[in-house]
């Protein structure tokens, strides 16, 4: 028992250490810059110029870290988990964008000052220093456009697809910004440790992205030949897609994991979507998708035989996280899917399942949940109807402690909408469940 608990702490410590290390790389870039005499000061006003250069270095490192965090490289996925990687990606993005603005503003103002021009006149004057500075200015414009439209899309709750399309422009911006880092910047000036640091940063980041977002899905498609073999729309509105292939054990998909799926059929192939595996068999994988976005509801018409590209399997919401003898699965709506996959496998210790859906009719795969629960001798606690104060329904306010005795001897797995899952986690903590025994899968965009 104790051993398992330590394991959870070690995992947490590793995740924190990795997050810290990623932020520290920004500081390392600054330290190299300073150590190499980057701070050349002839008069006090020059500190502003140096600050602008430093902001640029920080932005460059953080953007590379952002790419690394969403590269699906296994050591990031295993150590941080997909959702936490996405959260860190977003956080770094905010700092990186701020740093970019500071960098561009300070360097523009200061060069205008040195050249004795107005700031506005300096913008085209910088083009004379090389095409790469014009490209860098364009990159800033694209980054700003992406940030502004992303904020609007998230705030107005537009479709995932529009957010995704806008986000792809970031790759254009990175391509535009890279040349000036090499040609104009002091990045690769001077050999030694700094040179290797920057080389490693670019090679590891861009290499990981290429390897795990492009090469690996294509190689897997060749090796496993994954194709859609069955599409079923359930009475509750959700759709199950079964995919078959050769030798799928090689994928080492674990119950609780998800993948980013790209269906190579007309009208579907442009977007990869994150769906949890709701069943794992020797030669077949099943995902079940809720009827939410336009894309999800269109999946019912997906032709059988469609080839599938898979990024993954991803996620650490698996039985490996177990720290206690018993377990409680708490699912909100379509969040039941990873738990269904987990329920297909033997469990030791007491097991309870808590289901929350807006109505009995819309609870995804409810019959399957009950069949599997009966096999484990597990109790299913169901809450339907409009939402109330906490995570439960308005009609039946409930707390986990009232449903399950001896909660401190249980792991609590939570999967569902973020705000709802927050409420469940808060209830679990209040009921005496240790933080390391609470496991969540957040469905974030990344």
């Amino acid at each position: 028992m104790t051993e398992l608990t330590v394991d959870a702490r070690v995992r947490e410590r590793r995740a924190v250490a990795l997050t810290a290390a990623l932020w520290w790389t920004g500081a390392v870039a600054v330290a190299f810059f300073v150590a190499q005499g980057g701070l050349t000061i002839t008069s006090p006003v020059d500190y502003l110029y140096s600050l602008g250069q430093i902001a640029g270095l920080v932005a460059a490192v953080l953007v590379m870290n952002q790419v690394l965090l969403i590269s699906r490289v296994p050591w990031i996925e295993h150590t941080l988990g997909h959702d936490r990687a996405a959260v860190t990606h977003t956080r770094m993005g905010k700092v990186a964008f701020l740093a970019m603005l500071v960098h561009a503003a300070l360097l523009l103002i200061m060069t205008a000052h040195y050249d004795g021009r107005s700031v506005l006149a300096e913008i085209p004057a910088l083009w004379d220093l090389g095409w790469f500075l014009a490209a860098a200015q364009a990159a800033l414009g694209v980054f700003a456009l992406v940030v502004v439209t992303s904020l609007v899309i998230v705030r107005r709750r537009w479709r995932y697809e529009s957010w995704h399309a806008v986000h792809l422009c970031v790759y254009v911006a990175i391509a535009l910004a890279l040349p000036h880092q090499f040609i104009e910047g002091s990045t690769f000036r001077g050999k030694g440790a700094a040179w290797w640091f920057w080389l490693a940063l670019y090679v590891v980041t861009l290499g990981s992205w290429l390897a795990y977002r492009v090469v690996r899905p294509l190689a897997h498609a060749r090796r496993y030949g994954l194709r859609v073999s069955d599409v079923t729309t359930h009475p509750d509105g959700s759709t199950s897609i079964v995919m078959t292939g050769r030798d799928l054990a090689g994928l080492r998909a674990m119950p609780g994991q998800f993948g980013l799926w790209r269906f190579l059929a007309r009208g579907y192939w442009r977007e990869a979507h994150p769906f949890s595996l709701s069943r794992i068999e020797a030669n077949a994988l099943r995902v079940t998708v809720g009827a939410s976005g336009d894309f999800s509801s269109s999946l019912g018409a997906l032709p059988v035989g469609t080839r599938v590209l898979l990024e993954g399997p991803l996620g650490i919401f698996t039985a490996r996280l177990r720290t206690r003898p018993g377990v409680v699965y708490v699912a909100g709506g379509i969040g039941i899917t990873p738990l269904l996959a987990l329920l297909q496998h033997p469990h030791s210790g007491p097991l309870d399942i808590v289901l929350r859906a807006s109505s009995l009719e819309s609870a995804p795969l409810r019959d399957e949940v009950h069949t599997l629960a009966a096999r484990h001798g597990a109790t299913v606690h169901e809450f339907f109807g409009p939402r109330g104060e906490g995570w439960s329904s308005a009609a039946e306010p409930a707390r986990l402690a009232d449903l399950v005795a001896g909660l401190d001897q249980r792991d609590v797995y939570i999967c569902g909408p973020v705000a709802w899952a927050d409420a469940v986690a808060a209830d679990a903590v209040a009921s005496g469940v240790a933080p390391e025994a609470i496991h969540r899968e957040r469905f974030g965009w990344s």
């Binding site: 932020w23 600054v30 330290a31 190299f32 005499g37």
Partner: protein, 136 residues
């Protein structure tokens, strides 16, 4: 993120940057360190200044000292601007050119990497100085 984690991340960053500062060369330099004023020369030595060549990064002018047909010194009368980036580049590039020219005894030397504006301008000015001295 917990407050303690933020502290670890922030503290670590501060420590790393501090190491950078600790191993940094002196920050304060003067633009005058890069350029030299024309000076009276020793007997038998002649100085030749090349043309002042301007580009987007400032104006560059080389001066060579010649003794018995041998170039014994190379300095910049003008090099770029007072912008610290310019000073940082030229305080490395000008001594590098001096070494190259003294070794080759020619204005036709390789460009200095990382000094893409200084190099063509300074070499052009060197060329003029060598011609004035009748050395090319």
């Amino acid at each position: 993120m917990r407050a303690s984690h933020k502290l670890v991340i922030g503290g670590g960053c501060a420590a790393i940057v501090a190491v950078g500062f600790a191993s940094a060369p002196p920050m304060r330099v003067s633009a005058d360190d890069v350029t030299a004023d024309p000076q009276p020369t020793a007997s038998g030595a002649q100085t030749f200044a090349g043309p002042a060549v301007s580009n987007a990064r400032g104006t560059y002018q080389a001066q060579i000292t010649v003794v018995d047909g041998m170039v014994t010194d190379v300095v910049a009368l003008q090099a770029g601007t007072r912008d610290p980036q310019s000073v940082a580049v030229n305080r490395v590039a000008i001594p590098a050119f001096r070494t190259e020219v003294l070794e080759a005894q020619s204005w036709d030397v390789d460009a200095i990497s990382g000094a893409s504006f200084t190099s063509p301008a300074f070499i052009e000015s060197l060329h003029g100085a060598f011609e004035d001295a009748g050395l090319s």
